[in-house]
Every structure is written in C-alpha cells, then in structure tokens.
Symmetry: C2
Subunit: 304 residues, 2 copies
C-alpha cells in the first residue's frame, strides 16, 4: 500500500494501520486484506463481486472495517456486500470509499444489504471521500437496503464532505415490530458537484420508528437534492429533518414525503433551506475572523 | 331560486339574500343574476364560458360575490373566470361552489386566473360544498392561477368541509418583487372521498414571500394528498405547513418540495400527520362529552 492509498484509508476509515477486529480491504477492485474473528466471518461471493459478512448471534462489542480504496484512474468498481447480523448481536461496521484519480474518471457503486435479526443492534458508519485532478470525475453511488426484524435497531451515519463530483445515494428500509432506524447524513458539495439522496422507509410493524436527519452545505455552483419518503403502515413514529445551508450560486431541493396509511401512524417532517445568518457572521468577524474564516467555522459547526 | 338553491348559496357564500356590491351568480351553468358598480365591471366572455371581472385602480373596501350553484344531477360545468385587479385596489372576492344532486353525478371545474397590478391587495375566499344522495358523485376541480405584480398582496382562504367526493385543487402563483401570497386551506374528507391539493409558487422578485398553511382532517376511508412546490429564485421567504388529523381508516400523504435557486432564498417547511391525542379526548370526556362529541369538538377547533 503506497502513501496515496494509506491517506485514502485514513480519510474514509480513520485508520493509520490495520484495524483491530474483523476487516476486509478492497483496493482497486481487488481483495487487499482480510481478517475474520471467532464471531465474524467474511466470505467472498462467487456469483458476483462482493462479500457476505456473517455476524454470529449474541456477538457484542466487535467491529468490522470494510474500506474500499481506488487509486487508479478510469476504474469502475461495482460491489455487492451483504451483512447478516445475528439475533441479539451488538456491533459496529465501518465502511467507506476513497478515490484518488488523475487522468480519468473513476466510479464506485456499493450495494449494501443489511439483514438484522431479532433484537440485533448495529451502528453503521460510511464515509465517502475523493481527491485528484480537476479534470477527472469521481463518482459514487451507494445503495443501502436495510431489513430490520423485530426489535432490531440500526444507526447509520453517512458523511460525504469533499471530492465527489456525482453521487446518487439510495437508502431503503423496512421495519418490523419495535424496530428502529436512525439515519444521520452529512453532505457538503462544492464546485460543480451534484448530490442526490433518496430515502424510502416502510414502517410495517407496530411500535417501529424511523428518524432521518440530513444536514447539508451546498457551495459554489453545486446542486443537491434531498428526497425522503416515509410510509407509516401501522402504529409507528416517523420523523425526518432536512437542514441545508446554501452558499454562492448553489441550488438545493428538498422533497420529503410522508404517507400515513394507518390512523396510528404519527409522522413529522421539517425542512429549512437558507444562507448563513448575517448576524452570526458579524459576531465571529468582531472576534477577529475574516468573513471566509467565519463562514468556515459556522459550516464546520453545522456539519459536526 | 328554490329552497335547495338558496341553501347552497348560504353554504358557499353565507348569503341569505342578494349580496351588497358587485356579484355574478351562476346557476346550473347559466347566468342567474349580476350586479356591477362604478368601480367593478363584470363582462361575459365571448370565446368560452366564464366572466372577466375588472376592478378599477384604487378601488377600496368593495367586494365581489361570484357563487356557482348546481342543483341539477348529471350537469358538468366548466367555467373560466379572470380577475383583473387594478393598481392599488384593496378588495374582497368571495367565490364558492355548491352542488346538490340526486340521481346522477355533477361536476364543476372552475379555472380562476388573477392578475393583481402593482400594490393591489386582494382577499379571496372560496368555499366548496356538496349535498345529495349517496349514489351520485359530486366532483369539483378548482384551478387557481395567481400573477402578482410588484408589491401586490393576496390572501386566499379555501374551505372544503363536506360533500365533495372527488377534488383536484391546483393553485399556482408567480410573485414579482415585494409581492406576498398567503394561502389558508381547510379540508375535511369523509366516506370514500378523495382530495388532492397541489400548490406551485415561484418567487421571482426580490423580497417576495409565500406562506401556505394547510389543515386537514381525513375520516373513514377517505384519502388526501397534499403537494406543494415552493421555488425561491431570489431573495425571498417561503414557508409551507401541512397539519393533518387522520381518523378511522383514512390515508394522508404530504409531499412538500422546497427549491432554493438563490443563496438569498429562505425556505421552511413543516408537516405533521397524526391522530387526535388520547389525552385531549379524555380531558373532554371527563367534562361529560361522549368520545364522538369530544372528537367533533377537537376537529371543529382544528379547522376553525
């Protein structure tokens, strides 16, 4: 692994060296390293690119790192990863993809399907990062499909702060009784970048809940679209929230949809799009910051 | 005018007798009465069904009533009404449609286009009401198109509480600098009724603002869809709010969309769908109301 690849790994997985616990590192479309534990098995798919990750019932306090790094220009990588989380397990999975390319467009499409068995708990962290020359595009289209059985709980944190020119991020989930899904998304787009996020959640089981929180900053000429569809099909609670800071000549569209198919569904949505409040800027500028520094401070705080 | 027609007139226009000021009464697709004033002229269109209403610049504190009543079964009425409100005028227009039909479906489609000149102010009230036998359908598809010139202000209040089986309510507006549009919509659906409301507002002028407030109650097997699209194309403020009470086996869908095409656009949306809070019901029931009476009280308060 060279210096560029090591840096990508640090950006997407906060790793300086090989991770503790189970891991599977994919570099330029190939397996680059794998470690399994007594409770976590990782198996290469035979019918298509990707892996199956099996986590035994009752596994606690273990983690799986599955970073993908692409340092070749012109590479188009498609991968199917399936996660089978056993009953009562409580684990963390850290995914992420970093692209460094010069002299050609590169693309990574990751299709991740999660099967959480009864009362399983999962924290899933996903970070997307790109770097390289200005003429090469970096494209990432993550698809996340979540199946939550009774009482299963999943928290998903996704971050895309820099370097991705084009992304369509699709997340869908179906929730059985008592299941809970929390999604926290952070996106920043700059230059001519384009980002679309599309959430669909079906609350099918009594007492299930979904909470989708999106925070985004759109700078320069970038364009963002936030779509969410929350369907309450039973006694359930759904909430979605989309806050966007718009700067320069950017454009932001928020299109959340709530559907109550049951009298016992309680659904709430909030969205706000606006620029940084002038008074906030002035306050920081009276403390000695330039306008640009003040904006950066506010944006960093907003996306923290 | 018979007793049925008089009752319809009362329901949609709160009129016991002929109104004061200008009016145009349309009954069963025909002109039934018209009155103009020195400042307000009403002219029958020659190219299609409908009227042009001309309000002179500077006209203040005058009103126009334009009720439509249909007491024939099987009638399908389509009308184009255009409203030309002169510069600096400040008037009230009360529209509304009532259908009473037995033994056949009746339908009224009213296409209303408003041209508000500079600094004109308009309060526009529209009420839809239906009654008749259970086997005859009552359909109303109101389309409202609003053009607001610089500094023009329009407040629109629409109410559809009972008796309309099927409705697609389309409202669109474009706003020049400093113009303001406020829409308050109240809808209640029962039985197998279906109601769709669709708002599109383009804020094109600096300092324009739009505020769309929808309150609805869906009972029995009825179905409601709320769609709004607010486009901020300049320094402007947009707000939309959709609160729905869902009861019985009803279904409610809210799909608001915000698009900020300018860094100076400030857009906010809120939506909440849920049933009547149990504690509210219990409180009223401890005061001696039956559950049904308590529900009615709450629904009436919500739609007031």
């Amino acid at each position: 692994m060279d210096a560029i690849e090591k840096n990508l790994l640090k950006e997407v997985a906060e790793l300086d060296s090989l991770p503790v616990g189970a891991y599977n590192i994919r570099a330029n479309g190939q397996l680059d390293g794998r470690h399994t534990t007594a409770n976590i098995d990782i198996v290469t798919k035979t019918d298509k690119p990707g892996i199956d990750i099996y986590i035994k019932p009752g596994t606690k306090n273990e983690s799986v790192h599955i970073p993908v790094i692409i340092s070749k220009a012109g590479l188009k990588d498609l991968v199917y990863n399936d996660f089978h989380i056993g009953e009562g397990a409580d684990v963390t999975i850290i995914a992420g993809c970093g692209i460094h390319n010069c002299g050609g467009d590169s693309q990574h499409d990751g299709i991740h399907t999660f099967y959480l068995a009864k009362n399983a708990r999962l924290r899933y962290v996903e970070k997307h990062y790109g770097e390289g020359d200005e003429t090469s595009k970096r494209v990432m289209n993550p698809t996340t499909i979540v199946h939550l059985e009774e009482g299963a709980q999943m928290e998903m944190e996704t971050t895309q702060i820099a370097g991705i020119d084009d992304t369509i991020r699709k997340t869908s989930g179906d929730l059985a009784a008592g299941a809970s899904l929390v999604v926290r998304e952070k996106i920043m787009t700059t230059g001519e970048q384009n980002a679309v996020t599309d959430f669909v959640v079906d609350m099918n089981g009594e007492g299930s809940s979904a909470n989708i929180i999106s925070r985004s900053v759109a700078k320069d000429h970038s364009r963002q679209e936030f779509i969410s569809r929350i369907n309450g099909n039973c006694a359930c609670a759904g909430h979605s929230e989309c806050d966007a800071i718009i700067m320069d000549d950017a454009c932001v569209l928020a299109s959340p949809q709530l559907t109550a198919n049951s009298v016992d569904a309680s659904l709430i949505h909030e969205a706000a799009i606006g620029k940084i409040a002038g008074e906030q800027l002035i306050k920081l500028m009276t403390l000695g910051l330039t306008e640009q520094q003040a904006e950066e401070q506010i944006v960093n705080g907003f996306l923290k």
